[in-house]
């Protein structure tokens, strides 16, 4: 799943979008028959396929609104496209799934139309931090899906599961870790702050950030691999070559279910929870349909369906879900998560990146 989130749009997605576009052009009658429609941008590839198959068809059946799903590239390419199109009064997609950093960047240019919660009654189901707000309180986006990065280990090498992120600092783990290579996708500063400085608020000041960097630099002797490419770490984790590290909870769970000697542990300080939001472009004219769509997506049974079929963590409260304990554990945890400080990656992006690169490569 994260392959899709981190890389650009796959060739298959482009081909798929092309075929979909061509068939729409070829069948104008179909378009006319559906007087209500909505263009929804989702990450191309696995995500789009899963949503098309499991979610969108049912939505159309229930509401009569036809969904035209658009394969969007990840990273900031889609944000830039939406932004430039909005300046020209166009919306390549009405509603898009956006990363948290992209949400904040879009806020700075008022790209997102404010959402009206009166038209999204199901938004009350959501866990509070999944509602993305402008500084003045208007709602910019509503949580779509979430996923966890946790502490993973090879079960052949570690008979006992580690219990805390502190394992990263343990001298016994010298040269055994695989960690993500970028400050903006590893979220290790947040982990350091939560584990050693009482919470991510410790990162509020530059002084606090420097302290976190210094503490984090202590893990360097334990790190064998700083990875950008997930396949590289996943393979080494399965073989025991690199027996511990940070990785995606759902993918690790799937590998374990396949019989691989790996496990994913939610440390006592919490797993790292990253997420995507539904956001409406200010250039869109499908405001009503967009609200109906977002409201539909916030239903507990839809979130349960996503957890079962796509492997994402639900954005609505646990007690509203009909997931069994096992199904819930496969995608999430009751331990309070570490929420990344997305604000830092917009306000201090270059400074953090520079410090980070100097720390790991210096």
């Amino acid at each position: 799943m994260r392959d899709i989130l981190k890389t650009n749009v796959s060739r298959r997605a482009v081909l798929g979008a092309g075929v979909a576009g061509a068939s729409l052009l070829a069948m104008p009658a179909v378009l006319r028959a559906q007087d209500k429609s909505l263009k929804v941008g989702v990450y191309g590839g696995y995500f789009k396929d899963s949503f098309d198959k499991n979610i969108f068809a049912d939505f159309t059946k229930e509401t009569g609104i036809a969904i035209e799903s658009v394969a969007e590239p990840t990273g900031e390419a889609w944000l830039v496209q939406l932004e430039q199109a909005a300046k020209a009064g166009q919306a390549p997609a009405d509603v898009s799934m956006m990363s948290q950093v992209a949400m904040l960047k879009g806020q700075s240019t008022e790209l997102w139309a404010a959402l009206d919660t009166a038209k999204i009654p199901n938004a009350t189901n959501l866990i509070d931090h999944f509602v993305n707000k402008y500084p003045d309180g208007r709602i910019a986006g509503i949580g779509a899906v979430a996923w966890y990065i946790t502490l993973v280990t090879n079960t052949d090498v570690y008979k006992e599961a580690p219990t805390s992120w502190n394992a990263l600092w343990d001298p016994a783990n010298a040269d055994k870790l695989g960690l993500l290579a970028l400050v903006s996708n590893s979220f290790l500063l947040e982990v350091t702050a939560k584990t050693h400085f009482g919470g991510t608020n410790a990162l509020d000041t530059e002084e606090g950030l420097v302290k976190a960097f210094e503490k984090l630099a202590e893990v360097k002797p334990n790190v064998r691999l700083w990875y950008r490419d997930e396949a590289q770490f996943e393979q080494s984790l399965k073989s025991g070559e690199i027996p511990m590290g940070q990785y995606y909870h759902d993918v690790t769970g799937l590998a374990a279910a396949d019989g691989q000697p790996v496990r994913s542990t939610f440390p006592q300080e919490g797993g790292i929870m990253d997420s995507g939001c539904w956001a409406l472009s200010r250039a869109s004219e499908k405001v009503e349909e967009a609200h109906t769509f977002i409201n539909y997506m916030c239903q507990p049974q839809i979130q349960s369906l996503l957890s079962r079929k796509v492997g994402t963590a639900p954005t609505v409260k646990r007690d509203l879900l009909d997931l069994t304990a096992e199904e819930f554990a496969a995608v999430s945890s009751d331990i309070e998560p570490i929420i990344p400080r997305y604000d830092l990656y917009t306000s201090k992006a270059d400074w953090l990146n520079q410090k980070w690169t100097e720390m790991i490569a210096g």
Binding site: G75, E76, V80, E83, L104, K105, S108, T109, A181, L182, S184, N185, R224, L225, W226, R228, D229, Q232, S236, S239, G240, E241, T346, S347, K348, A349, D350, N353, Q354, T357, E358, I360, A361, G362
Partner: protein, 284 residues
């Protein structure tokens, strides 16, 4: 046939196509990159057209100096290793039977069909503790226990030499095939051993080819960004790795462009220096 200088505009016709290709595929992209390197970075957005030196100023630091130094050192090391291995190999190859030559050349060409990703992952498996070559050494009894050979500088160097060696051989091959065999025969009749003849006759006769090959492999190796990432530690990351980080992950095109322009300038400078030193050496 007499060659006349072109008289009319139409005589220059055949030049238009290559010139056009050069402009479209090299001059325009490169000029765009130079322009972007002076643009203003907007951390909350993308970038805006401007004329600022911030991106270059950020690059001029001890940290980036060290990374640049390492990148140049790595590229030089790869170039020297490749040439040291390839010259004797290609010399022997050019003296071998035709069938042997064809077989070797086909094998070398097939390496070129491998992508950098496949080469990187193959070597990382070969150098691993769990499935790597050290397991063979343990089996034979040379080593007591299997160890991991990557990530390390040696692993990066090995894979990069592996990747560049076919190019080196293919560039050296025509020159060595054309080398007059009577030169070495004369040396042998005058009493030189084969090794001595190789070093005193073959190598000096190929001086220009070898220098040209060194430069080619150097530039080829300088652009590598995948192998140092897969097989090296962060201190073995080249400037190209950091350029990729800035361009793709940080959306900082102006800074990435500034670093790339700097890398190109340093490379051109070094190549010019080599050529200049070569000319001087010839004149002396």
């Amino acid at each position: 046939m007499r060659r006349e200088p072109p008289q009319k505009l139409a005589d220059y016709g055949p030049l238009f196509f290559p010139a056009g290709m050069l402009i479209v595929f090299f001059v325009v992209p490169f000029a765009t990159m130079i322009a972007v390197s002076f643009f203003r970075r907007d951390p909350a957005g993308f970038y805006s057209p401007d004329f600022v030196f911030d991106n270059y100023a950020r690059f001029l630091s001890l940290f980036f100096g060290k990374v640049l130094g390492f990148s140049l050192f790595l590229a030089v090391a790869v170039a020297i290793c490749c040439v040291v291995l390839a010259v004797p190999f290609t010399y022997l190859l050019s003296r071998a039977k035709r069938k042997t030559q064809v077989l070797w050349l086909v094998a070398l060409l097939s390496i070129l069909s491998l992508s950098e990703v496949i080469i990187g992952f193959a070597w990382s498996t070969l150098f691993s503790r769990t499935a790597g070559i050290t397991n063979l050494l343990v089996m034979v009894g040379i080593m007591n226990e299997a160890v991991a050979l990557n990530p390390s500088f040696g692993a990066v160097l090995t894979a990069m030499v592996y990747q560049a060696l076919p190019y080196t051989v293919l560039v050296l091959y025509p020159a060595l095939v054309r080398l007059d065999p009577t030169l070495t025969e004369a040396a042998r009749t005058l009493g030189a051993s084969p090794v001595k003849a190789f070093f005193t006759v073959v190598v000096p006769a190929l001086r220009n080819t070898i220098v040209a090959t060194l430069i080619m492999v150097f530039i080829f190796a300088l652009g590598s960004y995948l192998l140092p990432q897969i097989l090296g530690r962060p201190q073995h990351w080249t400037l190209s790795v950091l350029i990729t980080d800035q361009a793709i992950y940080q959306s900082n095109m102006p800074f990435a462009a500034a670093m790339a322009v700097f890398l190109v300038l340093v490379t051109l400078g070094l190549v010019a220096l080599t050529v200049y030193a070569g000319r001087k050496g010839e004149a002396a």
